[in-house]
């Protein structure tokens, strides 16, 4: 069997690194024209909208605030260990200041005495910011359903609720992935298809059509 090696690509000599370097230099100097310029742009430039690029960057660099409320915080700590390793999803940099954080994970029960503190931390975070209510307590007060607790979405907006008591770190990772998905402009979390509830979306204007689901 005869093996022939050929350089890929056409006019400018293909993918040879030196050739491409020289072509990039020519481009910067303004010496590249016509077909060569067109091909260079096709090979090396990706076009998108600014919003999409921003959403992509934001969703892959979610910095959580260092904030634990109760037993769910233990699972939240396990989230950054090497076994679960949220660095894979860009959400491992727990910041000690809410000014530097993008995401607040409510890991535990919120008492009515703690609620103003939580709300203040949320208000101190810079836009854009997202909230994950982790576990049954912060979503619905869970087993501590009494006079002392309040559900988190009574006093602040919550983007993702992660059920469980406490949720395993995998469940929280799932919540983070759902949050990334909704940041990247696919707010459909798939529950309508699971509960056979398509067509029940409430839209602000009758002429606005439902955004296409990506699945």
């Amino acid at each position: 069997v005869e093996v022939r090696r050929e350089k890929a690509g056409g006019v400018g000599g293909g993918s040879d690194l030196r050739v491409r370097q020289l072509r990039a230099r020519d481009l910067l100097r303004g010496n590249l024209e016509g077909r060569e310029l067109e091909q260079h742009v096709e090979e090396s430039v990706l076009t998108t909208t600014l919003e999409k690029a921003l959403d992509w960057a934001r969703s892959n660099a979610l910095w959580p605030a260092t904030f634990g409320l109760a037993c769910c915080a233990i699972e939240q700590i396990a989230l950054v260990t090497s076994r679960y390793d949220t660095a894979r999803f860009g959400a491992e940099v727990f910041r000690a200041s809410p000014r530097q954080a993008d995401m607040l994970i409510l890991s535990g029960r919120v008492s009515i005495k703690m609620a103003p503190v939580v709300r203040r931390i949320y208000d101190q975070m810079l836009e854009p910011k997202w909230v994950i209510a982790m576990g049954a307590c912060s979503s619905s007060t869970g087993v501590f359903n009494n006079y002392a607790l309040v559900a988190a979405d009574k006093f602040m907006p919550v983007d993702v609720h992660v059920p469980g008591c406490p949720p395993r770190p995998e469940a929280l990772i799932h919540g983070i992935l759902r949050l990334q998905r909704s940041i990247q402009g696919h707010p459909d979390q798939g529950w309508r298809s699971r509960y056979r509830a398509e067509g029940t979306e409430e839209l602000p204007h009758p002429n606005v059509v439902s955004p296409p689901t990506s699945r």
Binding site: S140, N145, Y147
Partner: protein, 176 residues
């Protein structure tokens, strides 16, 4: 714990020293309880603390309770401990419910036992029992602007309505 005989001896001595102070005695499941008249609770506690033969110098706990269908409704409990003999005695005062507007009142024992400060505040916070003469009677656990006495039996459970199978049809439009 004093045995039933020892409890009766303590009660009789108290009846002699402070007439009308002891309403009853109970000895139930090994717990010796003196049921005292609320107005004389300080006299009983200071006698149990200072009498050399008794020596209950350590206040282990103050707590309150609500026996709602019964009257008198509220109970204030003092757990005293003699640390030499490792004996405990339980002093209990029953308070009548003064109605919606007023709070049941009893004398504060912070002067006798400084450790009673926070525990009386907790009993006030949860049951609304006003300890007269307490230096700083504020709520200790609940927010200061909180209304109501959450551990009383007639206080609503509160919280979020939770959907169980036994109550799903009572919740309006639960399926939405």
């Amino acid at each position: 714990m004093p045995d039933p005989t020892g409890l009766e001896l303590i009660a009789n001595e108290l009846r002699e020293r402070h007439p009308g102070s002891i309403v009853d005695t109970l000895h139930y499941r090994g717990v010796a309880t003196l049921l005292v008249e609320p107005g004389q609770v300080l006299a009983v506690l200071s006698w149990l603390r200072d009498e050399p033969a008794q020596g209950y110098r350590f206040l282990a706990s103050i707590h309150a309770s609500d026996y709602l269908p019964q009257e008198p409704r509220f109970g204030v409990h003092y757990e005293l401990l003699n640390m030499e003999r490792v004996e405990r005695i339980h002093v209990k005062a029953l308070l009548a419910d003064p109605g919606e507007r007023a709070l049941p009142e009893i004398d504060s024992c912070v002067e006798l036992f400084p450790a009673a400060d926070f525990q009386e505040r907790e009993a006030y916070d949860m049951f609304g029992i006003a300890f007269q003469g307490h230096p700083d009677l504020r709520r200790i656990l609940m927010p200061e602007e909180y209304e109501g006495w959450p551990q009383r039996r007639d206080f609503p459970m509160g919280g979020e309505p939770v959907l169980f199978t036994h109550n799903e049809y009572q919740m309006p439009r639960w399926y939405e």
